[in-house]
């Protein structure tokens, strides 16, 4: 858009806007609302389909759609407020929209928060002239286990199909048939599958596309939308949790233009029901000889924890998950480090402050000339919304390359590096690359590292900041403290538990710790916590308690225990944050973290803690060799495993192969292939992916059977069937 300002008159009000601004936005600048249905700037170029935004423009004989018009100097626009013709046009359109729309608002989940309902009240006719049968369709149709479609309510604004075509670029939602019989559908009725499908339920301006989880679950006057931040991946999308009677009923996006632009992934949207999973722990469990784990009171549990901690002073090792809040990690660290002289902790991955000089908001990816994607883990599996930003960059004309030596990198003005893969040393590798390319201080240039944990950086900061002393490495583990479900599910942590004399596990779900913990303390989920997270941009964000947890908050019993070891830990988040902030965040007050947090600079980079989850494989396979990348899929983990309706999203057992490697081995998509290394082998169907580099093969971790690194790949011998 140009920077030249033009004068536009809207309903006799003059307004100056940059030339080319849409008339809908121009009118808003003049304080005039032009109603819209199909118009949604995030979906790309306007399509002028619904005809709700008709306006009269001086010098043009026909009414024009405000959404497709752009501001030109001297343009005089009259909206329905001042033009009878525009008002007639708009009323006519609204009447048409309502002709086949059922009058079922009282039982429609969208009722009360429905743009069509609102605009009908504001602009619509009070009566209908339609006396014939309305169109009827079979309803509701599940287009996936998470989304249902009511074709009678659909007003065919094409927002959903445009999202599918030009934002998530999955092309699965389409319109079929023609004219009045047009319907939204998926191709051949295959369930709408992908990381971002749920966004169409928010884009839909009527009650046509609705999340099945929310069906008949709440009315607008009974619910509260609590602003918080998603805690399931390192992006930290801003969300609203819809709460009714103390239960989370729905997750909605809460547009942070620098982070998520209002798009969230299906894991963030639909996985919240894990809060009410059947094996959710609400009471502490203690191992009783020969009886296994038995429920005990909180008093008993805290006493037992005290006993175990006291007996292992200086010999306690902590396995963190990277999903703790900054405050939980700080409080736990202070208890163990200051009170019990046990400094050793591990995270599932390495964390580094090396990237701090190359920080950018995620939205800068969209404006890049070149995006270099390094590492071979699919971005969408690790930090889904980043994938949307890269797609937006590509649509904007950016080159997306997988090699920093690509000539396009040297020529480009704005270069963004994204590291998505195993290795990378917590971002320090990509930071070094950024330094080599001279990206420091260059406008629009920067680098991102996609960690595996949602708050690894925040946890590492907090752990480092809570004590000034440094300890020795523990030789024999007296007590292993396992914090969180990710750590509890980690095989390396379990191996460590074998060596430890005793183990305390802090976990949301019973299944994870049944066999090996001595004491299990129920944990809270991110939607139940007040506190802060640091996302992959290095942005400090505020989590809010959207519902009360079914057990005490971690801070409560950490503070109790701390008191028994003469350590001062406040049971209040704000007080703990104040302490952390003093040391890490420049004294920022808890109340100033912000509902749409800005990207703040870091005063100092903390030390590195943590370790690699897997031994780092060689970066480049030798010619002809194939390196297997076994990635953790987006739809996996403790939360997803407990949500029935998300199971269809879990990855298929298949091996992704580059076109090069497939051709060399005469393998086509669908062929069975054998993948082997050191005597163990798995057989999977192959899928040829043209975007994959030669020498790389990919498989979801749950189908890898422990294989990784250099592997042999061959077409499976045809099975002889009798």
């Amino acid at each position: 858009m140009s920077t030249e300002l033009v004068r536009v008159t809207i309903d006799e009000r003059d307004v100056h806007v940059p030339k080319g601004t849409g008339i809908v936005e121009t009118a808003l600048a003049a304080g005039v609302e032009i109603p819209v249905f199909c118009y949604e700037p995030r979906l790309g170029a306007p399509i002028g389909a619904c005809r709700m935004c008709l306006v009269e423009v001086e010098g043009m004989p026909k009414l024009q759609t405000g959404c497709t018009l752009t501001a030109q100097d001297g343009m005089v626009v009259k909206t329905a407020r001042t033009s009878t013709r525009a008002a007639q046009g708009q009323n006519g359109t609204l009447e048409f929209i309502l002709v086949n729309h059922p009058l079922d608002c009282p039982v429609c989940d969208k009722g009360g928060e429905c743009p069509l309902q609102d605009l009908t009240f504001r602009y619509g006719p009070g009566n209908t002239r339609m006396s014939f049968d309305k169109l009827t369709f079979e309803k509701p149709v599940p287009i996936s286990p998470t989304i249902s479609l009511d074709r009678e309510r659909c007003i065919l604004c094409y927002r959903c199909t445009r999202f599918s075509e030009s934002v998530s670029e999955d092309g699965q939602l389409v319109a079929a048939n023609r004219g009045a019989l047009s319907v939204i559908t998926t191709f051949e009725d295959v369930p709408y599958t992908g990381a971002f499908t749920g966004n169409v339920t928010e884009l839909c301006p009527v009650g046509a596309l609705l999340p099945t989880q929310y069906r008949f679950e709440g009315r607008p006057w009974e619910i509260v939308d609590v602003p918080t931040v998603c805690g399931l991946c390192p992006v930290g999308c801003n969300v609203h949790a819809t709460v009714r009677e103390g239960k989370v009923k729905r997750i909605l996006s809460r547009n942070h233009p620098e982070i998520d632009e209002g798009w969230i992934c299906d894991k963030g949207r639909f996985a919240f029901t894990h809060l009410r999973a059947e094996d959710r722990l609400t009471q502490p469990l203690q191992r009783v000889r020969r009886h296994g784990l038995e429920p005990v009171s909180w008093e008993q549990a805290v006493d037992e924890a005290e006993r175990l901690l006291r007996g292992a002073r200086g010999r306690i090792v902590t396995a963190l998950s990277g999903s703790e809040t900054v405050e939980h990690a700080y409080a736990l660290g202070k208890l163990l480090r200051v009170g019990l002289d046990s400094h050793q902790a591990m995270l599932p991955e390495e964390i580094s402050g090396g990237l701090d000089a190359y920080r950018l908001p995620l939205s800068a990816i969209r404006d890049a000339d070149v995006v270099v994607v390094l590492g071979d883990v699919p971005i969408v599996e690790r930090a889904p919304v980043v994938d949307l930003w890269i797609k937006a960059a590509r649509r904007n004309g950016a080159r997306v390359v997988d090699d920093a030596n690509d000539p396009a990198v040297a020529e480009a003005e704005r270069v963004v590096l994204v590291w998505s893969g195993p290795g990378g040393r917590g971002g320090s590798t990509v930071a070094k690359l950024a330094e080599k390319l001279g990206l420091a201080g260059r406008e629009g240039c920067g680098a991102f590292y996609l960690p595996e944990t949602p708050n690894g950086r925040g946890v590492a900061d907090a752990w480092a900041a809570c004590c000034d002393e440094e300890g020795e490495a523990v030789e024999s583990i007296g007590l292993l403290v396992v914090s969180g479900d990710e750590a509890a599910a980690d095989e390396n942590v379990r191996a460590l538990a074998e060596q430890a004399e005793a183990t305390i596990v802090l976990s949301m779900f019973g299944g994870l710790s049944a066999g090996w913990a001595d004491l299990v303390l129920p944990g809270t989920g991110y939607l139940e916590r007040d506190g802060t997270f640091v996302n992959l941009e290095g942005r400090l964000q505020r989590l809010r308690r959207t519902v009360d947890p079914p057990c005490p908050d971690e801070l409560e019993w950490i503070a109790q225990l701390a008191a028994r070891f003469e350590v001062d830990v406040a049971p209040y988040t704000a007080a703990v944050f104040a302490e952390v902030s003093e040391r890490v965040y420049g004294g920022l007050a808890f109340g100033e973290v912000g509902e749409r947090a800005p990207l703040r600079g870091y005063p100092e980079a903390p030390e590195r803690i943590g370790r690699e989850a897997l031994p780092e494989p060689p970066q480049k396979a030798r010619r002809g060799e194939i390196r297997l990348v076994a990635y953790r899929p987006l739809f996996s983990g403790a939360a997803v495993e407990r949500v029935t309706e998300l199971q269809f999203q879990r990855p298929q057992p298949e091996l992704e192969l580059s076109a090069d490697d497939a051709r060399r081995r005469k393998i086509a998509t669908g062929d069975l292939v054998t993948v082997g290394s050191n005597g163990s082998a798995i057989t999977l169907p192959a899928r040829v992916n043209r975007r994959l580099r030669a020498g790389i093969a990919r498989v979801a971790l749950e189908h890898a059977n422990g294989l990784h690194g250099v592997v042999e790949v061959a077409k499976a011998e045809a099975e002889v069937t009798a």
């Binding site: 359109t93 014939f132 169109l135 065919l156 023609r178 004219g179």
Partner: protein, 439 residues
């Protein structure tokens, strides 16, 4: 006056589907002439000829060519609209079947004018024979080296009327669902694959070699000053000799109906003429002395359209005719914009209630008002095409509509014959599942 065959010149005496025969009557000399000119000179020549677009809108072809952004770094495309789908129109079909090389020559000249190397001819899917003739002719021209560096692709449509709308045609060519785009941007600036694109009707392009042959000045002397040249008129309905007649523009409509087409069949009375294909306002018998050209027809409130006359005799019930045409547009509405998608179906429902005698007087005003809410409010012209004819029937034959209401049914008592007047929609349409539930 006799027919004046220009587009169809030589088709009666020769087999012009054969390259050699077309060459023997001077074919492809125009393209040689054109290629000796610069694109600027050529566009200037076309502009001076003031050839108006034969697709319906009548926009001057030379001016269209001059709007192409030839400085653009993107490729320039020429798209020929051969998706002739307007009920009553069959003129392009005859040109493609009998003078395909004239169309190809026109493509090559026009491509040279806009510096295009890629020509797409988007042909109606049902025109299989014409497709085969045209592709064979393109192949002959290619083998003879006439195409030069120009690639001509003949692309078959899949049976959607909307793809005759120029921007929906571009979407369809790009492999997308055929639905119109908002304008601006207009195709000469951003058309096929977002590149500058010229779109013309078959008859427009097939006239271009004639301009080169005669010279712009000489060409402009034929027809009438505001609409030079000839046009092929498709005439159908209740006439003695339906068919295509190539006449100078400005020929009186009466002459076409009564001399060339032999008048109303069976000696019956003329009731109405729908002059531009089924989508335009109808004329009453006292209006048929109008000269057949763009401005004269415009002056009496109708359109030249696709130069396709549908002649209706006094047996016809105008409500049934309205129903037949509206059903077509309802069926062909693409479903993108609201007024057309919803309004056409609603119009059919009202027309059916009028025909079966359950409507009231208020329904006539409602029908009229729904039309007003479609006209000028739709994304493309399809919705308006549904309204124009019906509004004209309602205004000019209102007593007939009123009679339906007052007599509680059709005053023709089933005697109305729509034989030969447009095709019923179920005859030209492959009915999707559930269509019967549409109204």
């Amino acid at each position: 006056m006799a027919e004046h065959k220009v587009l169809l010149a030589g088709t009666d005496e020769h087999d012009l589907t054969q390259l050699a025969e077309y060459r023997a009557i001077g074919g492809y000399r125009g393209v040689e002439k054109a290629r000796a000119m610069t694109p600027d000179e050529l566009i200037d020549e076309l502009q001076r000829a003031t050839l108006r677009g034969r697709g319906g809108a009548g926009f001057p072809m030379g001016r269209k060519a001059s709007l192409i952004d030839r400085k653009s770094a993107k490729p320039k495309y020429l798209v020929v609209n051969a998706d002739e789908s307007e009920p009553g129109a069959f003129k392009d079909r005859e040109v493609m079947a009998r003078a395909p090389h004239r169309l190809i020559e026109g493509c090559l000249i026009s491509a040279h004018a806009i510096e295009s190397r890629d020509v797409f001819i988007y042909i109606r899917g049902e025109y299989l024979t014409e497709y085969e003739i045209l592709t064979a002719a393109v192949e002959q021209a290619r083998e003879a080296g006439i195409l030069g560096d120009v690639q001509i692709t003949v692309h078959r449509g899949a049976g959607a009327y909307i793809c005759g709308e120029e921007t929906a045609m571009l979407e369809s060519l790009e492999g997308k669902r055929g639905q119109p785009r908002p304008r601006p941007p207009f195709p000469p600036i951003q058309g096929l694959y977002m590149a500058p694109t010229q779109i013309n009707n078959v008859c427009t392009i097939a006239t271009v070699p004639v301009i080169l042959e005669l010279g712009a000045e000489e060409f402009a002397k034929t027809g009438v000053p505001s609409s030079p040249g000839t046009a092929i008129f498709s005439i159908s309905g209740n006439v003695v000799r339906p068919g295509n007649y190539e006449l100078d523009l400005g020929t009186p409509m009466r002459e076409l109906i009564y001399e060339h087409a032999g008048g109303v069949a069976g000696g019956r009375e003329l009731k109405a003429v729908v002059p531009g294909g089924s989508s335009v306002p109808a004329l009453t018998p006292d209006q048929i002395d109008v000269p057949l050209d763009y401005d004269s027809l415009g002056a009496i409130g109708t359109f030249f359209g696709a130069a396709s006359l549908i002649v209706v005799d006094d047996r016809c019930c105008m409500v049934q005719l309205a129903l037949r045409s509206t059903k077509f547009y309802m069926h062909e509405s693409c479903g993108k914009c609201t007024p057309c998608r919803v309004g056409t179906r609603w119009m059919v429902q009202i027309l059916e209630s009028i025909e079966n005698g359950t409507a009231t007087h208020a329904d006539l005003d409602l029908l009229d008002n729904i039309g007003d809410n479609i006209l000028g409010k739709v994304l493309c012209a399809l919705g308006e095409f549904a309204v124009y004819p019906v509004a004209s029937y309602l205004h000019k034959w209102r007593d007939e509509f009123v009679a339906h209401i007052e007599q509680g049914g059709c005053p023709f008592h089933g005697s109305s014959s729509l034989d030969g007047i447009l095709a019923p929609s179920d005859q030209h349409a492959q009915t999707p599942v559930g269509e019967e539930a549409l109204v």
